[in-house]
């Protein structure tokens, strides 16, 4: 790839951060004829998603799936010996996957003649950046337009030393330095549950502590209960309505004191603690105070429908531009920002942004949830189809799962789709297409779905709503 050893003096379009938002914007803008400079501290593009997020976690979840399927296959007459896990090999394989993908992106950057500067950038003023390369070279770069895509990082619990080996965040967990005998996951969100599932499959006794009254806050409870039934078996314990009061690292473990909603405090020792309480946008080191770019109360950069910040020539996309902090939202925003920067009338107006939790079973949804409909007092009609009756589910040796359609009771238009079950993440794409095309449930009911597949559950759910 064509890494620039020096800092270009001028850039037509500079993109800061080469995660999914940054590299997607770079590719699209280049296609549209812009001269792009991409700045990132990593050797190759990829950002958190490829280096420390989506991709390595999915590689490890594949390992977890193999382990649990081997275990469960006894039920259907196939018995495997207890799996031996070569942790070094698992780690190497995961790194190979990451390397292949990031390397591929790196060579695409080279082929497209995008200038890639390995380093960090900071605003000197609204038209000029100070760039410091990883080799220590410092220079200034004047730009016409900029796209900020610096992403986010895990939030640590206050008062916990960042360099601890026993108290880790998602980045540390993905390194799988070892498989601790016991692991406490602080935070019942998707990151905690996915990584907890990996460690549970590798042999750790995993406990989860969550402050609110349920796992996956924001997700509809009926979907969560499909997951929780299985996690209750896989995990040592799931403590809801429980707050971590104190975490103390000791010589042979971590002592955690937790208080439940009756204020009863319990102390427990774990070999490792994974903090997965959320992520925050990386805006501090950009020198935004040298510009008129505004942040909202949560620290996200405020943007308009074209992803423009308060400085019309500076765009912000991805995690720093607001929730949900998901790579595919960044892709969408990247395309809009790149097109707007090239003078097109693009607008980021998704009718649906899918969310997927890659646990086993997976949970995926898009559009309106029942929870949100209740909060916003929107009248909806729902169809919930359990997977027990679906042929494909049973032939996979499973019976857990649910497909849910949420429609407008008057127009029958699909407002939301949700799926819990193995492969839900793949199935939800049909829901997203349905949402973007503004289909009514009859459209789903009259589209022939392949048999026997899990996708038939969408067809069957639509039939529950279909009259006439």
């Amino acid at each position: 790839m064509s890494q620039s050893s020096e800092i270009p003096e001028k850039a037509q379009l500079v993109i800061i951060g080469a995660g999914p938002g940054g590299y997607a914007a770079a590719f699209r803008a280049t296609e549209l004829g812009q001269d792009v400079t991409l700045i990132d501290p990593e050797a190759n593009p990829g950002g958190v998603c490829l280096h420390r997020g989506c991709i390595p976690s999915k590689a490890l979840l594949h390992v977890a799936k193999l382990v649990s399927e081997a275990e469960e296959s006894k039920e259907i007459g196939v018995t495997f010996a207890r799996p031996e896990i070569d942790l070094d090999r698992v780690r190497t394989w995961k790194d190979e996957v990451v390397g292949k993908l990031t390397g591929g992106l790196g060579s695409k950057v080279g082929k497209m003649k995008i200038t890639y500067v390995r380093g960090m950038a900071k605003f000197k003023d609204a038209r000029c950046l100070t760039v410091k390369t990883t080799d220590g070279i410092v220079g200034e770069m004047v730009f016409e337009q900029a796209i900020l895509a610096t992403g986010s990082r895990p939030i640590m619990l206050p008062g916990v030393a960042a360099e601890s080996e026993r108290i880790i965040d998602s980045t540390g967990a993905l390194e799988i330095a070892d498989v601790p005998a016991s692991l406490l996951v602080v935070g019942g969100g998707y990151i905690g549950l996915e990584l907890g599932s990996v460690y549970a499959a590798l042999g750790s006794k995993v406990s989860v502590v969550e402050m609110t009254d349920g796992l996956l806050p924001g997700c509809d409870r009926d979907l969560v209960s499909v997951l929780k039934r299985r996690l209750d078996k896989k995990f040592e314990s799931i403590m809801l309505n429980t707050r971590v009061e104190e975490i103390k690292e000791q010589k042979n473990g971590v002592m955690v004191s937790m208080a439940d909603n009756r204020k009863e405090t319990t102390k427990k020792r774990f070999d490792k603690v994974l903090i997965a309480i959320g992520r925050k946008p990386n805006t501090e080191s950009l020198g935004l105070d040298k510009t008129s770019v505004k942040l909202d109360k949560k620290g996200f950069v405020e943007v308009d429908g074209q992803m423009r910040t308060a400085e019309a020539h500076i765009f912000a996309i991805g995690d720093i531009a607001g929730e949900p902090m998901l790579a595919h939202k960044a892709y969408g925003e990247a395309n809009v920002a790149a097109e707007a920067a090239a003078g097109r009338k693009a607008v980021f107006d998704p009718r649906a942004i899918p969310a997927v939790v890659f646990t086993d079973p997976e949970i995926a949804w898009c559009g309106l949830t029942e929870t949100e409909a209740r909060e916003r007092k929107i009248k909806v009609k729902t169809a919930k189809l359990p997977w027990r009756g679906n042929g494909r589910t049973l032939t996979l040796g499973r019976d857990d799962g649910m497909t849910k359609l949420i429609v407008d009771p008057e127009t029958d238009r699909v407002l939301g789709v949700a799926v819990a079950g193995p492969g839900a993440g793949e199935l939800i794409a049909e829901g997203v297409l349905a949402m973007e095309m503004a289909v009514v449930s009859e459209d789903l009911r009259k589209s022939i779905h392949p048999h026997p597949t899990l996708s038939e559950t969408i067809y069957d759910a639509a039939e529950m709503l279909f009259k006439g």
């Binding site: 019309a312 003078g343 009338k345 649906a352 309106l368 238009r413 973007e436 289909v439």
Partner: protein, 449 residues
């Protein structure tokens, strides 16, 4: 409470205008109806008055800005609640931010700067006469129920998809719905008939060829076209390139009429002074009644002649900013006295550019009187979609042989340009002759009119 001052709807079809003057400054106390700023649209400058007493809190536009109808131009702090000077709660700021705050109508500025196909946005036919909104953040069920490709098409055509009624199941908006919206809106603006292509020519630049580098031959300066000049260029260019025109010349003997006029004016005050133009308006109105084809428009698309059952006569008025044509309504149903009064008033207002665009719409025939300037004859250009225009030159005393001797006669040269697609040569000659005879012998008006 801060009240938003928006650009009011001034006239159908007017989608935007230019701020030509800002009469107040931030912090100024203003009274009800005090002029806040002046706004130049298609053919008029409109003063935007303050709706209430208060203090100007923020001015969101600058002189020269192009602003769409409905855009917020100022924030007015009402006099009743000085307490509002307290810092605005953060939340409120947040809500405003994506809309308008900081940047005066950022969408337009950006679109214009970045979009090479800007005629699409300029010709934008939307009913609410607004530019399409690229700024508002919309997600999920707040986004129009249309496929992404349809939403993109709407943006490309300059259509606000949130004004389009979907005809699909559940109100889904199809590509056809968007195209229908454009068609219907264009029909409403053009008054039916042929539907021009959405990506039409740029107004005023019909068949512009590359210009040479004038500076090769000496120093030049450039000035922007005023809105009036741009529209005049468009209207004249369109008429010249699409209408086959013929000009018929004739002379009217106006000694008696002129004597009457001067006698009348001896007793008149300035408001009701009788001008030759006022008399001509009346004569032409009568002529148009006698020759209804001269009061028509050609609709080639539907192969019809549109005959108007009303006679509204436009009078070209020379103003410092350029030629404007206010219209006298129902000229056939008014006496010369009334017409003179109206004409004086309207001409005065036009020169001061205080009339609305609606006063300049709907004319069925036009009179251009250059008699006050001089000249023996000229060929006026038909003001499409009208089909005829009367040009008037300076009347002069000329000897006329009455059979026994030469007598001095006041002769006024007239030129009638007409659309030869609608009017044949003989009819053109007859029409102008009719006018001349009526001027020579006004009794004709009563006899025939």
């Amino acid at each position: 409470m801060k009240q938003e001052i928006k650009v009011p709807e001034v006239s159908e079809g007017v989608t935007e205008g230019t701020v030509v003057d800002i009469s107040v400054a931030v912090g100024d106390a203003v009274e009800v109806d005090q002029t806040l700023l002046e706004f130049e649209t298609d053919k008029a400058v409109i003063a935007i008055p303050s709706p209430q007493e208060g203090k100007v809190a923020e001015i969101k536009v600058a002189v020269g800005d192009s602003v769409p109808i409905g855009a917020v131009i100022m924030l007015l702090e009402s006099a009743a609640s000085p307490a509002d000077e307290a810092p605005v709660p953060e939340q409120q700021v947040e809500q405003e931010q994506p809309e308008e705050a900081e940047k005066p109508s950022p969408s337009i500025a950006e679109v214009k700067k970045a979009e090479p196909l800007k005629e699409a946005a300029q010709d934008e036919p939307s009913a609410a006469a607004e530019q399409i909104d690229l700024v508002t953040v919309r997600r999920g069920d707040r986004v129009a129920p249309a496929a992404p490709s349809v939403r993109r098409l709407a943006r490309d055509l300059g259509v606000d998809i949130y004004q389009v009624q979907g005809t699909g199941p559940g109100g889904r908006i199809s590509e056809g719905d968007v195209r229908d919206f454009v068609r219907v809106t264009m029909q409403r603006i053009t008054g039916g008939g042929s539907v021009p292509a959405v990506h039409g020519e740029f107004p005023g630049l019909h068949a512009q060829r590359p210009l040479p580098d004038f500076s090769k031959w000496g120093e030049v300066s450039r000035e922007p076209l005023s809105r009036i000049r741009e529209l005049t260029a468009d209207a004249m260019g369109y008429a010249w390139s699409t209408i086959p025109m013929v000009t018929q010349y004739d002379q009217a003997q106006v000694s008696e009429i002129e004597a009457f006029r001067q006698e009348y004016n001896r007793r008149a005050i300035s408001e009701n002074r009788l001008t030759m133009t006022a008399i001509l308006v009346k004569v032409c109105a009568a002529a148009l009644k006698a020759f209804p084809r001269f009061n028509s428009s050609l609709d080639l698309a539907s192969k019809e002649l549109v005959l108007k059952q009303y006679i509204h006569i436009g009078v070209a008025v020379d103003t410092p900013a350029g030629l404007l044509v206010p219209v006298l309504r129902d000229a056939d149903r008014k006496g010369i006295e009334t017409l003179a009064l109206e004409l004086n008033e309207i001409a005065e207002k036009t020169r001061e550019r205080k009339i609305g665009p609606d006063v300049m719409e709907g004319g069925t025939f036009t009179i251009s009187n250059l008699g006050g300037v001089g000249g023996t004859s000229f060929t006026p250009i038909v003001y499409a979609p009208q089909v005829a225009i009367l040009g008037v030159s300076t009347a002069t005393l000329q000897p006329e042989w009455d059979g026994e001797q030469f007598v001095p006669r006041l002769i006024m040269p007239l030129s009638l340009t007409y659309d030869h697609r609608v009017i044949d040569g003989a009819d053109g000659a007859r029409f102008l002759r009719w006018i001349c005879e009526a001027l020579d012998n006004p009794l004709q008006l009563v006899m025939k009119g």
